[in-house]
Amino acid sequence: MKDVDVLDDFDIEDYIRQDQMPHFLCPGCGHGIALRALMWAIHDLAIPKDKLAVVSGIGCSGRLSGYVDASTFHTTHGRPLAFATGLALARPDLHVIVISGDGDCLAIGGNHMIHSCRRNLNMTCMMLNNEIYGMTGGQVSPTTSSDRFTTTTPAGNTEPVFDACALAAAAGASFVGREVTLQILALRELLRDAIANDGFSFVEVISDCTEIYGRKNDLGASPEMMMSQKSSMRPFAYRNTVDVPFRPTGLKTGVLAKTDRPEYGKAYRAMTEKLRGKKGRG
């Protein structure tokens, strides 16, 4: 694996629809950094735009697909992985990327998430975890940290959080990783390897919702939130799991699972070929 070339010829403007600017993200939101890292990884892998499909659901994360200058699909809430499953099966030649959020992926779409991991179909899910339903004004989500204030937990959150990566690994995703937005170069590399992985890749990006979640919980402005999310400055070190959890919730960054499970699309196509052969049809 080559080291990341910081000073390469990547230009985000080549990958973003300029007619969709200005974007709708709030100042300080981490989602833009994640989108940049994703586009950078796609640039690194030299994926042509006509071989790229970006699928998203509903929420702040859901709006990102519309900014990408490729074939993009803004689906219904919680369903991007289900849509992407059909897409990836029908068009195995495409690089299918799903952009989802903690609510979209783990709450309303949780069922699709675990079955996507189990199936191990070739696609990459980038889940932006900002611990909140930002789009609807800041309600509690399955990743809202304990005791944090949201508009539906005005006395503090009492529910335990999901460890999305542990869930993905347990459910069978063949590549699982997590990174914070501050480590954009590490995130770029993590996403690059996730997309290159032949199977279902799950990448959790710890993003920050400064405007709603940060403000309501007195977490400071975006730089403070991002600094508190990182464990240490590890610009190129994503491949090694950080042993010291970077948050009280005990989440770790880096590659958290990598297995050689068979990719589902290949198994499906092999079966299809076999059945076609049986009837003597081409």
């Binding site: 609510g103 783990l106 309303i108 004004g137 309600q139 508009t151 005005p154």
Partner: protein
């Protein structure tokens, strides 16, 4: 005492006055403020309820179903995609004849994605067997919510209170909220004798064979027809207790000498009232405004009485059944069929996906009936110039 409240906030306060045992909801625009306000009332210690932040609308409805089956006073609220995601459970709740109340902050249904108001969401579950009441103002929404808890207890039919998203939910209005003692005196405690009880075990939701299924559906339909009277008397009772009615099954206002009637539901009625006040004396002329509050059960007899003697009835839909036309319009046509000297029916969809309905619509609608070439149904405010010729 009147307070300036946002529609959603007022609904949360009204729900709180009815002291539900369980509230479950999932965020969706434009409903979210209702449950946000409810969670704040719980956090502030003003409302003692089990507030469950669930993982989807499907779960919200399911939690409410479970709570109702256990004999709890249950409440949920949603809109748009949330209503559709709940659809399976909504049919279950109604089919099981479980009492509960739900607010629908009416919003268009995707695709194309729209967060703005129309009635496609509640219309999509029209046949689920829920009572559906439409509020024309925030005061009506508040009063109807309180009434809904009593109606659902009396009829064992779940009640959906529909209020237009943003137009009502996000609008400040002076609201008169009763005191909790007044509501306690008016709303009897929930007594549900089919509740799940470990002391007297029973099964809920079992398979019903063709030997009994038609009877179950028939009795549900009968209960809905009978609920017409309950809706009317509950509103009358409420008016007696609180000095204010919400419009029973439907109300008629305007010039009794008018030859034209306009049938509408929800906030459109307010727009038409304003338009009528400004333009009825001008070229537009007078009209009778028929505000339909009870959409399910459908008050067929009351509507026939309201339109009897009119030359023309204009029915305003805020939803469309593609391939047929207006949904409410189609139903009004069915109700008028066979009526001696039935008025001519004109049906228009208006304000789909949040298209603003101006007060001048009153004059435009009345002017349009003079056009002999006008189609029986139209999306009245669609701008044909925006469409390619083949789609016009």
């Amino acid at each position: 005492m009147r307070e300036a409240l946002e529609g959603s906030q007022a609904i949360a306060r009204a729900v709180s006055l009815c002291e539900p045992d369980v509230v479950a909801a999932y965020p969706i625009t434009p409903q979210t403020h209702i449950v946000e306000n409810l969670s704040k009332l719980v956090a502030d210690g003003d409302l003692h309820t089990e507030f469950v932040s669930v993982e989807s609308e499907f779960s919200a409805a399911s939690v409410a179903l479970g709570a109702a089956a256990a004999g709890a006073r249950a409440y949920t609220a949603t809109a748009s995609q949330g209503v559709l995601l709940m659809a399976e459970v909504l049919f279950n709740i109604a089919g099981l004849r479980l009492p509960m109340v739900m607010t629908v902050a009416n919003r268009a249904v995707s695709a194309p994605l729209s967060i703005w108001n129309d009635h496609a969401d509640s219309m999509a579950v029209r046949d689920s067997g829920w009572i559906q009441l439409h509020a024309a103002s925030n005061q009506e929404a508040v009063d109807t919510t309180i009434q809904a808890f009593r109606i659902t207890q009396q009829t064992e039919l779940p009640v959906m209170v529909c209020m237009d998203g943003f137009i009502l939910t996000h609008t400040m209005e002076p609201i008169d909220l009763p005191s909790i003692d007044e509501v306690r005196a008016w709303l009897p405690p929930l007594e549900f004798d089919r509740q799940l009880d470990p002391e007297d075990p029973r099964s809920v939701g079992m398979l019903v064979t063709p030997d009994f299924f038609p009877e179950v559906r028939h009795s549900h339909h009968t209960a809905m027809r009978k609920s017409l009277e309950v809706i009317e008397t509950t509103d009358a009772d409420f008016a007696q207790a609180f000095g204010r009615a919400s419009g029973g099954l439907l109300t008629v206002e305007g010039d009794v000498t008018a030859r034209v009637g306009i049938v509408a539901m929800g906030s459109t009625v307010g727009t038409l009232q304003a338009g009528m006040a400004h333009y009825a004396a001008e070229a537009a002329g007078p009209a009778l405004l028929i505000k339909l509050r009870s959409y399910r059960p459908f008050p067929a007899r009351a509507l026939r009485d309201a339109v009897r003697g009119l030359d023309t009835v204009i029915v305003i839909d805020r939803a469309i059944s593609p391939g047929m036309g207006g949904i409410l319009g189609t139903e009004v046509a069915a109700v008028l069929a066979g009526m001696p000297d039935a008025p001519k029916l004109v049906n228009h969809a208006l304000g789909l996906g949040g298209r603003d309905i101006p007060e001048t619509i009153y004059s435009d609608l009345l002017a349009a009936i003079r056009d002999p070439d006008a189609p029986a149904f139209s999306v009245f405010d669609a701008d044909m110039e925006k469409l390619p010729p083949e789609d016009r």
